[in-house]
Symmetry: D2
Subunit: 452 residues, 4 copies
């Protein structure tokens, strides 16, 4: 059964036109069928970068485009491995092309469990997209599971175990999930393209060419050291310049508070109004099914926000409006030494008429651009190994000064968010009343920093 | 008043990062304020190409990105005109830079009246995005109108008249709306970029450089003839290859039928189910306000479709599912001579269990890539004029064989759409019963054409 | 013998970084050895576009880069053919992968016979680069021949017959030489890239995907019609905008006259001066060997021009200076009706002190962008055939209006070249004396045309 | 006089099409005239990257293209400065647009003194391109000087002093020459484009936008910190991956030895053969004029090498052939600890029949990617200053970990070059005799390193 269906190459390969990879080549019927499932098509309605398009307006691409991109990179690597490093005897550390299908399916599906406005939603409603991905793969009610099961009874479990990183072959796991995997390579290139920045570009073709399977997973030929270095620096840059952008984070803060407010009102029996957000209710009560989860997407949440613009609760309605009409909060950088000033500032915000619980926040965005393998870590990382001519391995940061500079060091910042009104630049209406409050507030800010 | 606000250049110009124009430069406070209006931000929730992302998955960009792009092209042309062809005396046919602000505002707002799934929605609910654009500009309840009114009492009317093509200065009108205008130039480049095709590329910088204001509007320096020719051919190609793609048109057919079915059910009092699509109801009864119109976006419609998946009406529920899960109809080309076969085919579709009213359709996509000015035409076109060294004008198709080939000739095709099931390729379940019907149906099709 | 060497795949494929194709993949030892021959390396010293860099300064790329590009496109097509259309039985019209090596070698070597400043040189010294290519392949003294002979005694003859279009398999011939071949596809993309224009871009990947071998050669799947159309239009545009640029043609005129003057002086025994252009002498006397031919390159000619700057003959020295220091002639368009004015103009040029034989010229640049097969033609063209689903063929211009517009119609213009001084714009020194002559001359010119 | 000519804006600006900057805009007659000088046109015959095209075949661009690119970047920065930071009162640290012309001329001419195969030529013949640039600007016999003198008697001296970094306004000097100047920004982008690599790309538009004139020269707005960081990393990467490529360095070694051999033979009276390399002779005797220097270009040297292929001296003839036919030496990395092995290896090379003086070499390529200002240094560097909102300055490496990692640390390697034959991979002919020598030689090499 397994071989029959998995062997079912399409009579003629199909292509999807893709701005990043030019074409995406679909050769297996399984892959085509997975793309056509309801759960996978739903990814078209979830933006890859959440609210980042509020800062970089071009970044409106969905998780669908990213997912087929990860599939395509994985497929190309499989082709290169099959041609250049085919397994001769089991255990020789080379590539066993029987692993191709499980790798391709895991690559395609790795993000299928993402929910509407993914990270913010998870924060408020305690969901986890990685677990949801596995659930979608394993639950017999999903079309995804039905397609995978045709390959073999055990096949969904295998695919899910790649996501869970428990699949026995480390090469397959590292293809999908490591510090330099198909997932990261696609999103850097894709997010660069759609934002219109070029920080995330690196030489994908060259990196794929220097990848080499070995017993411990995937290593990189020493000749590609600088290409790998360039990839890591690009990743670092994208985090600093795009993913951690203060305006996007501020819109996330608003979204987070908006959902929290709705939940609080609901629990207090105060989410009134003629309209009932049926599709969200199971999440307010922490009692949702997989089907509930799959009914949501960015557009559904936005639709509820559209209703809430007119909700009697002034905070809910104001936050919904700020979110839909893109009225970001302002922010400044906080350091451990200036953290103590925040309560004072929140006080001033309250004096100016804003509930600080919903109109201020601190948010830290930190990333660990690269790290060594550390078995004591909670999620130990697979370090990047370079293979020399004599097949011995060298860890990357030991030969690259640039990489060493970012190894094991988190980068990013913590920011304090507050209403734009506090800057006191437009003193219309009641603004004048609060002018002294605004002035005092602004005395605590200089050069994008809190000061004492 | 007018000059005070319109003269209000921002102390420091703002930039938006854009993949097509690299940066978009915002220099006037009016423009910044217009972008920040509720009505303009709403464009982020309406896709530029409707359902085209079902064929070209990358094309998920919104009308927001296109609108700021049209603004930017217009701004650059104004800069070039002001530098190279400044008016010396009124009526000399050169550029009067006092027209800049009205041109920029019209450029930015030219699409602000687009509705959710624009063309299909208009078809079913008899709305008109150009009229809505003017309404949004002129209605004192909109934030857009409130911003424009600060420039001058008469300013909204002026901007609206550019959209209506009744503004007295033909240069301003042609910048926004002619056979080679800022609108078309932006969408060709942008749609190319996001679809990942390259058919729509042409040399924008060069075309802008050869544009020249003259008494009759805008002409092009003879030295730029080939650049203009290239633009027209690119536009032709984009229509043939992207905008008229049969799969996108098939998804539009489904969307059209889905909305029609809902309307029919509603009018018949049969749109039952626990859920009420409140935001759509005013349109079912042809009795909607501007505010109703502005509450809709692609996501709201998709949300209703999500509910309708589970509607008791089998046609509504099936069409909603086909739309959300991307199950396109199939299609073949129809010619005047083969048109007569369609009823026979619809009959067969009915025999196979599908209501042909909702599961078949013919749809023609024709475009007139370029045409001469014809005063007898309903919408006479401004023909493209080339200016020679001695300032005399020559119409483009008289000097370009390529352009002549597409002048005044519509291009495109008419197609007949039908359920994929009719191809009889997967005879599972009840499929076998209908095998003879399918066979008969397919005998009418050869080489993507209907045959007798 | 043949199979041993040709089968000698490199243990590890080599790659060359290429701006157009990203990487060029070298898999056969034969190809690597051919690239390393003296005759092929010489192509690095001959510019692909001759003097076009005088107009488009970026276009300084050599025939070397183009040649490896043509090889790479051919290799990719072979890969696609071998995967999708492998021969099952001889004569079935599908691809026989035993043809790969001869195709690759012919692709790589198709331009190896180009000489210094190719077309101009040919014009003056009556050489022919296609014949020289075959000679280099067949002559046992060349390194190219020595490498090819290792594949098989007969192999050089086979490769040369592909160049001569007498090779029995039309698929191989058409890959290298037809109206849409690897040669043209590479040069359009490459020349676009290096000139910095974008007129020559088209969708190479898509065209390669729709190519199909058949008994008569190579056809294109009907689904790729628009991609082929786009290619032809791009080619047309590149001719109009780049290859026929008047300034480049004017520099060619100077080069042509400069070489002619040197030849005339030499034949008259008047090419005096301390320096002897040894490497050119065999060509002055029409008595050169293959080795003489291969000693020349653009730099050698330029070096002689550097010497000739100081030659006692004022015409030779002036033309050399104009060429090296880029002082183009001016030009205007001539039509059959205005041709008769030229002698008058030449007279005026003579009156202004320039020998019209060396300082004026007419030059027509015409191209036939696409044509049908015509057995009566001297060089009958392989027309472009589209293959429908039922495998029947349709000729391209019968289904594309755009192509029909350029089919069988030459395009281009004829121009009359004359010294810039005739425009009388800088009347320094003796200029004033000639002012009346200049004025009379310019009365014959209007809107870039000769007028009566 | 000065103002008349410098004010002479062209009636219509001219444009040059450029692949990097799209168009180069020429607005001043001075600039157009400088481009048309003999000395500047000569740059078309000198490759920007010397022999790097032997590794990256696309990199065949000349110093001409780079020079107009540096001009264009400078022009754009002047435009931005003039618009955003115009001087109000002398000494206010803002931009005085009277400096524009001297800045543009210096930018355009900064490389005009480069000679044929620049660095290698300088090494052998003790020339210095920066001094030659100043000489060309100042010497009244050059066309460059004649054009500049028309602006003002003193103008050539001013332009030359910018090159010499003694010009009083530090903003002008730093535009042309600092750690982030128009020169470096152009060559990184251009060399990336022509090599087809993408390591050198960075966000030029953004960097130009954040540049700010101040009393001490040019600073960068803090908001552009990451863009500057990205530029420095790109520069570092280009050095590691392109400029220091071992194959290019090996071709430089051959060129160096070839010129040295010719000089040695000449001095010993042994440079025989029928042909006299007249244009080189003044350099063999260290007694050359500016005119001698300007007669040389890459093609002239190649022409001499073409003659020397047949020179009776076997070393000269072999090296000329290796250079023209691209037969690079091989190389391995040397460290201070393995340096001592080199004499042993040279001995073995001699045993294998090669004169080690001409067939081996060590060559170190080190670059200091970024450094702080150090007044004690021989050439103190202008450190990169970031300007905060309150106008205070912060040095870049104090806020960027990535930059800190490369600050003040040279990067690169030292390599030992030797004939490919020593690897003993092709034991044809006399090869077998030397097999033991080869074996011994190769025992000293492992993983691209010398080992003991």
């Amino acid at each position: 059964m397994h071989f029959q269906y998995s062997g079912a190459l399409l009579p003629m390969e199909k292509v999807l036109r893709d701005p990043i990879h030019n074409y995406i080549y679909i050769q297996n019927k399984v892959i085509l069928d997975l793309i056509n499932t309801r759960e996978f098509q739903r990814l078209r309605r979830i933006r890859q970068l959440g609210v980042a398009n509020m800062t970089f307006h071009g970044a409106e691409h969905s998780r669908f485009t990213h997912s087929v991109g990860v599939y395509e990179i994985t497929r190309r690597i499989c082709d290169l491995f099959a041609r250049n490093y085919p397994q001769v005897t089991p255990g020789d550390g080379l590539w066993n092309d029987d692993e191709r299908l499980v790798a391709l399916c895991a690559a395609l599906l790795h993000d299928v469990g993402h929910g509407a406005y993914s990270h913010t939603f998870e924060h408020i409603f305690h969901t986890d997209h990685e677990q949801m991905t596995q659930k979608i793969i394993l639950d017999p009610t999903t079309e995804v599971n039905q397609v995978l099961s045709q390959v073999g009874e055990d096949f969904p479990t295998q695919v899910a175990s790649v996501i869970a990183k428990t699949y026995p072959n480390p090469q397959v796991v590292q293809l999908i999930s490591s510090q330099i995997d198909a997932d990261r390579m696609d999103y850097l290139l894709r997010d660069s393209y759609y934002t219109g920045t070029n920080y995330g570009t690196f030489d994908l073709t060259r990196i794929m060419r220097v990848m080499r399977p070995y017993t411990g997973g995937i290593a990189f030929d020493m000749s590609g050291m600088h290409a790998v270095e360039d990839y890591l620096v690009s990743r670092f840059q994208m985090y600093q310049q795009v993913y951690f952008h203060p305006v996007s984070r501020s819109m996330e803060v608003i979204l987070d508070h908006l959902l929290r407010r709705a939940k609080v009102l609901f629990k207090a029996g105060k989410l009134t109004g003629s309209f009932k957000p049926e599709l969200l209710l199971p999440f307010f009560t922490d009692n949702f099914t997989l089907s509930d989860y799959l009914s949501l997407d960015d557009g559904v949440l936005n639709t509820y926000f559209t209703y809430w613009r007119h909700n009697p609760d002034p905070i809910l309605s104001d936050l919904a409006t700020r979110f839909l009409d893109r009225k970001p909060l302002k922010s400044v950088r906080v350091t451990p030494t200036t953290h103590a000033i925040i309560p004072t500032l929140q006080d001033l915000v309250a004096q100016a008429g804003f509930n600080p619980e919903y109109y201020t926040d601190t948010n830290d965005s930190f990333d660990l651009p690269y790290d060594l393998y550390d078995p004591r870590s909670k999620k130990p990382r697979t370090q990047i190994e370079l293979m020399q001519k004599d097949k011995s391995l060298v860890e990357l940061s030991s030969v690259s000064d640039l990489v060493l500079a970012i190894t094991g060091r988190t980068s990013g910042d913590e920011r304090f968010f507050f209403p734009k009104e506090m800057r006191g630049t437009s003193l219309q209406g009641q603004g004048e009343v609060f002018a002294p409050v605004y002035r005092e507030f602004m005395q605590h800010i200089k050069n994008d920093q809190l000061i004492k």
